[in-house]
């Protein structure tokens, strides 16, 4: 299909004797959000790190924008990565840089951007997450939730074609969670991005999911829309929605 921007098939990864992922298959389509659920430690973070080549899988195929990432050299992979936004579970802000510098960092290689343009982009990205006042703070001066939101702003700043969110609303209050979920939806609509959203937050899943996938024992067991899965007869699947 034309619309598929990323595809993972038969993905396998173990750490020593710990078989984390055994058989993961998924596709993300342009303009669609895929929510991934699974118990803590089931390998969700490992999954998206494999997708961008941060972790090398033991087996399986990963296709990004029609290219098998195991065939690419470093420079080619880096070019693809510029089209991907990644929100880390831990936010992963650069400690030695201010919030502004954190957001400017992904823009370094983008040519033809004047200082003014960059400033506008940074400010706009921070406004989206409600943090324009924190622009000159250091990451160590921010709360956990604020860091997460700065991380989100940084992931979105290049208007990437694929965005990978690792638990975007964890650690946020219900109101901010809802705003962030809404933001994810807005970004998707506005820029027609494809995303993977890892979340345990039912509210977030309800708002953002076009499709959902649940990982159990290292395999992607169930797939469907939010409605299908939340009404599932399977007790185990159902327990995610309680």
């Amino acid at each position: 299909m034309e619309n598929i921007v990323a595809e993972i098939s038969r993905l396998k990864k173990s750490f020593g004797r710990n078989d984390v992922l055994k058989d993961i298959n998924l596709k993300i389509e342009k303009g669609k959000n895929l929510v991934v659920c699974g118990k803590s430690g089931s390998g969700k973070s490992v999954l998206i790190k494999c997708l961008v080549g941060l972790i090398e899988p033991d087996d399986g195929k990963i296709i990004l924008f029609g290219k098998n990432i195991s065939d690419l050299n470093d420079d080619e992979l880096n070019l693809l990565r510029k089209k991907i936004g990644f929100l880390f579970q831990s936010a992963a802000l650069y400690d030695s840089m201010t919030v502004r510098e954190n957001l400017e960092f992904p823009l370094r290689d983008v040519k033809l951007k004047s200082k003014d343009e960059i400033d506008t982009l940074v400010l706009e990205a921070l406004k989206n997450v409600g943090l324009e006042n924190a622009i000159d703070k250091m990451p160590s001066e921010l709360s956990g939730g604020m860091r997460k939101r700065v991380g989100l702003a940084r992931a979105l700043i290049l208007k990437p074609e694929i965005i990978l969110y690792d638990e975007p609303t964890t650690g946020l209050d219900p109101i901010t969670s809802k705003e962030i979920s809404q933001l994810i939806l807005d970004v998707q609509k506005k820029y027609n991005t494809a995303s993977i959203i890892i979340t345990h937050d039912v509210g977030c899943a309800r708002i953002t999911a076009n499709r959902m996938i649940i990982i159990k024992d290292g395999a992607s067991v169930t797939e469907g829309t939010f409605k299908e899965l939340s009404e599932s007869k399977d007790k185990w699947v159902n327990s995610f929605f309680k």
Binding site: K49, L54, S90, A92, Y94, D95, F105, P106
Partner: protein, 275 residues
């Protein structure tokens, strides 16, 4: 209400024994694995250092942090080094009736050996541990991963700049430390005696030749390179969470200092071939 308390899982008693033969073998294997990885890391450095793009801003920032910020520490140790060495050497020279040789002798030992080595050790303690801890915590908190996914080359941005800064800043610090140490020696000489500055430095530079200064400065580039590279290697390849941060900092200092001595030994052999 009764509380049902159940202890699940078995407690394994681990015997603390002498490491068995197998463990020794494993340590040897680990050591060689480490050496292989460090060699690959070094080759990667040389590959990336010549390839554009060049991270000048980060390089200057690191040079400021690594060089300028280490200056006070290096200056104080340099001064004390010169002063103490002079005071300690005087009685022996007096015994030989060669007190007038004091400035020259102290100068030669400072410039040839003590200045470079002591400064490099201090540098390994301050800069090596700093780099090791910083990079390890960047690794643990996924900052290095974050750079990588943003399509950057973290090796270039983080490692290359720091190793280069360390390589170029240590020689500068050593020259400064030598100069301050000579001033310390001047004060040391004047504690018991009266030699004016002019005469002191005349005596110093009469005995200090190019062949004392040049090899001593050259080897400090290698010291700086080793300290920077080992700090980066230990930090960049850190794992095991926050515990790994301390371990990386520690290993950076220990191995960095050892490397300084080993390079010093080799340097002495090489110079003695030519001079």
């Amino acid at each position: 209400m009764s509380i049902d308390l159940k202890i699940s899982g078995e407690v394994e008693l681990v015997k603390v024994n002498e490491p068995s033969e197998n463990q020794y073998l494993k340590r040897v294997k680990d050591f060689f694995e480490d050496v292989t990885k460090l060699t690959r890391f070094t080759f990667r450095f040389f590959k990336e250092v010549v390839k554009p793009r060049y991270e000048f801003n980060e390089f200057f920032k690191q040079s400021y942090l690594i060089g300028y910020k280490s200056f006070p520490l290096v200056a104080i140790t340099g001064f004390i080094m010169g002063l103490v060495l002079t005071i300690q050497s005087r009685p022996t020279l007096v015994d030989f009736g060669a007190e007038s040789w004091l400035p020259a002798m102290v100068a030669v030992s400072i410039v040839r050996e003590i200045g470079p080595v002591i400064t490099a050790l201090i540098f390994a303690g301050k800069v090596g541990s700093g780099i090791g801890a910083e990079l390890a915590s960047m690794k643990v908190t996924e900052q290095i991963d974050a750079m990588e996914v943003s399509g950057m080359n973290p090796f270039k941005y983080i490692v290359v700049t720091r190793v280069l800064s360390a390589t170029l800043m240590l020689p500068v610090l050593v020259v400064a430390a030598d100069a301050i140490a000579l001033y310390g020696a001047y004060i040391g000489v004047n504690l018991k005696g009266d030699v004016n500055v002019h005469l002191f430095f005349l005596q110093v530079f009469e005995k200090l030749s190019f062949s004392d200064v040049f090899p001593a400065i050259i080897k400090t580039f290698f010291f700086g390179f080793a300290v920077g590279l080992i700090g980066c290697y230990k930090g960049y390849n850190s794992n095991n969470g926050t515990e790994g941060v301390g371990k990386s900092a520690n290993a950076a200092v220990v191995i960095g200092s050892l490397a300084v001595f080993i390079i010093d030994m080799i340097a002495v052999q090489i110079t003695s071939l030519f001079i």
